[in-house]
């Protein structure tokens, strides 16, 4: 239900980006980046408020109620509080890494969201094989966590950094095997082709095992319970975030939900048909599907316990990877039949 003005604005933006002059292209991308950043910020704000209320209701309490109606302004209050605190870096920490790493990974996440064609009718952000680029960049986050954890100079950060790297070993390979299956069905790794290829059947129907594997592996990638080993807060205080000062901590919280946006957007694109849907415009359908996945993820958070790191490796290599390979074989058979 984008109004005509918004469509016009986006059309103008698309023409900017497609134009031949370099400055116009740059300007167009800059404006698009700002629009995406605003959209992601809204998502982060609403979803983190929703999560607090949801988990509170599951636990039998209310969640934020005082600040604003239903506590909707609670996140704003928390943000103001965090930003107002002083920023200092402990002596044993690496100054440059501490200052630069979190904003860098945040910028990278917003860049990855820009690579998804969020407004499909305008054609912004489409280029060949963008799915592969997004997943390759997705894996940068554990690297940054490792850097910050090691740079923080305290032992909890180091342990957290170790765990972060070990976790990559368990979930990255199943994810790529499942993407290979999707690419097989859609004949390409470009997001637009994948969504268009689901016009007959959503891929969740054709590859249900792949969906399950992808969902679980995505939970591990997004550091959501039961795989939130990096900041296991009953064990490691805050792991890599222990010595990060308050303004940067707010960036880390934002990053948590920005990656949730990215992860659920990718799952909805790969399996649930992305932005396809009747009557409402594309971005709204995408957000609806994302919210369904987000609610599922929140239910899992409220009710599960944290896994141990070696059990996660077990899960990744002895459960997820065989299932992903099985999925690939079954998909090929189905592909031959269709």
């Amino acid at each position: 239900m984008l109004t005509a003005e918004l469509l016009f604005l986006l059309g103008w933006l698309a023409s900017l980006i497609d134009s031949s002059s370099l400055t116009y292209q740059f300007l167009g991308f800059l404006i698009y980046a700002i629009i995406v950043a605003i959209l992601v910020s809204l998502f982060v704000y609403v979803v983190s408020w929703f999560e607090r209320k949801f988990i509170a209701k599951v636990q039998g309490r209310h969640g934020p109620t005082f600040v604003g109606k239903y506590g909707i302004l609670q996140n704003l209050a928390d943000l103001v509080k965090l930003m107002a605190k002083s920023h200092f870096i402990p002596k044993s920490a690496d100054k440059i890494l501490f200052t630069v790493a979190l904003p860098a990974i945040l910028g990278l996440s917003i860049f990855m969201i820009m690579l998804i064609p969020l407004f499909p009718s305008t054609g912004i952000g489409e280029f060949a094989n963008n799915l592969l680029l997004i997943f390759a960049l997705f894996a940068f986050m554990p690297l940054f966590v490792f850097l910050i954890g090691v740079a923080s100079g305290n032992k909890f950060g180091e342990i957290s950094a170790q765990r972060s790297v070990i976790m990559i070993l368990s979930y990255e390979i199943p994810i790529f095997l499942v993407i290979a299956g999707v690419g097989l069905l859609a004949h390409s790794f470009t997001i637009t082709n994948i969504v268009n290829g689901q016009s007959k059947w959503y891929y969740i129907v054709l590859m249900p095992i792949g969906f399950v594997v992808m969902f679980i592996a995505m939970l591990a990638e997004l550091e959501r319970p039961p795989f939130d080993l990096r900041e296991a807060d009953s064990e490691l205080i805050s792991g890599w975030l222990t010595d990060v000062s308050a303004p940067y901590y707010s960036l880390a919280l934002f990053l948590d939900y920005a990656r949730l946006f990215l992860g659920t957007a990718l799952i909805s694109i790969l399996f649930l048909g992305g932005w396809s849907g009747p009557w409402l415009s594309g971005i709204v359908w995408l957000l609806i599907k994302m919210m369904v996945l987000v609610i599922f993820i929140m239910i899992i958070r409220a009710t599960t316990m944290r896994m141990r790191i070696d059990r996660l490796l077990n899960l990744g290599w002895f459960v997820l990877m065989p299932l992903a390979i099985l999925n690939l074989i079954v998909t090929y058979i189905i592909y031959e039949m269709i």
């Binding site: 009953s234 064990e235 958070r301 944290r306």
Partner: protein, 363 residues
């Protein structure tokens, strides 16, 4: 390469102020050294300078999770010194209150242990809601939810209120369903089983050598429960059976506590049914010990955490010396043996399964 980390006194995971200095080799624990004493108030010395009535609140604050058990143990010591016996109805009432307190304590243990394992407060909130119902029952009798001060030599300070029996039976029905719910939720949960089975194994021989008591001991296959080995009150008449499981790991200790909760429910129901008519009021203890028969007394009780042993030298006005052998202190001493060779994440599962209350360790 061995790194030493400090799981400091202020920590979301330890149940109180306990400092653990852990030597890690990668992810494997090489040595755990608990540093205790951060809540040491010198209770034993404080009690030497106060009269017997004034000491009862001190005893209750030792272990705030199971105050009834400690208050009852102290009053039993005073009764031994005075040489008086507890009235029969009062014995039944005390057993009811003690077993209700045991259920409440185990519910708290369940919530906090799952919190340590990473279950973000959800089960913690639910078990505390159930515990609250029991605390409300205890409040009706005593007036307080956590610290009761309702035991007196020979009985209690006042009778059970009217309607207590029906309410308690209703609550016991509810508790049965809740315990079944928690067991069902946890024992089908693969993450929980992975994190507790085979973790922190203690053989029966080791358990006896370290001197641990309570569910930690019974989870290792040793059949020792103060309520059946040195029976007191009416546990024999109520047909108490100790719950013993062999296995020695965190899962066995968890299961023993769940079985104990069920046994407590059964004991409460039986005690309420068999309770004789009569008088349960005890005498006020602000009198100095008039017929002080015994100067040196000792009392052994089974608290939810283990065996509490009080050794008291009773002077007419104040106790000359009270020595407390608290269960959490001895259970904590076994931590190193349990945790050596496991991973860091297992340390918290083990700590949770030991059910420590740090003021109980430090006194």
């Amino acid at each position: 390469m061995v790194t030493r980390i400090n799981i400091g006194p202020v920590h979301p995971s330890t149940h109180g102020v306990l400092r653990l200095v852990v030597d890690l080799d990668g992810d494997t624990i090489v040595n755990v050294e608990p540093h205790i004493g951060l809540t040491h108030r010198g209770v034993e010395k404080l009690m030497e300078n106060r009269m017997y009535m004034q000491n009862l609140p001190y005893m209750e604050k030792e272990d705030y999770v199971a105050s009834t058990a400690y208050g009852d143990a102290y009053i039993s010591a005073v009764e031994s010194a005075m040489g008086i016996e507890v009235k029969e109805r009062a014995q039944y009432v005390r057993v009811v209150l003690l077993e209700l307190q045991r259920i409440a304590s185990h519910l708290l243990w369940l919530g906090t242990m799952l919190n340590d394992l990473g279950q973000f407060f959800t089960l913690f909130m639910w078990t505390f809601k159930d515990r609250d119902i029991i605390l409300r029952l205890l409040e009706e009798q005593a007036g307080g939810r956590m610290f009761y001060v309702n035991m007196r030599p020979g009985g209690l300070i006042k009778e059970l209120p009217p309607g207590f029996e029906e309410e308690t039976l209703q609550v016991m029905n509810y508790m049965e369903k809740r315990v079944a719910f928690y067991e069902n939720y946890l024992e089908k949960n693969e993450v929980f089983i992975e994190r507790t089975k085979g973790v922190g194994v203690m053989s029966a021989q080791q358990a006896i050598e370290y001197g641990v008591t309570g569910p930690v001991l019974r989870g290792s296959g040793v059949d020792y429960d103060v309520r059946s080995n040195k029976p007191y009150y009416v546990y024999k008449e109520l047909g108490f059976r100790p719950q013993v499981l062999s296995g020695g790991d965190c899962f066995a200790r968890y299961k023993v506590r769940m079985l104990e909760m069920k046994e407590s429910i059964r004991l409460v129901r039986t005690a309420l049914k068999k309770m004789p008519e009569g008088d349960a009021i005890g005498m006020p203890i602000k009198l100095i010990l008039p017929a002080a028969k015994n100067r040196i007394v000792s009392v052994s009780r089974e608290t939810p955490r283990g065996e509490l042993f009080i050794y008291m030298v009773a002077d007419p006005q104040k106790p000359y010396r009270i020595s407390l052998r608290t269960p959490s202190f001895i259970n904590l001493s076994a931590l190193n043996a349990l945790a050596k060779g496991s991973r860091l994440a297992d340390l918290f599962a083990i700590l949770g399964s030991l059910d420590l209350v740090i003021p109980d360790v430090d006194r």
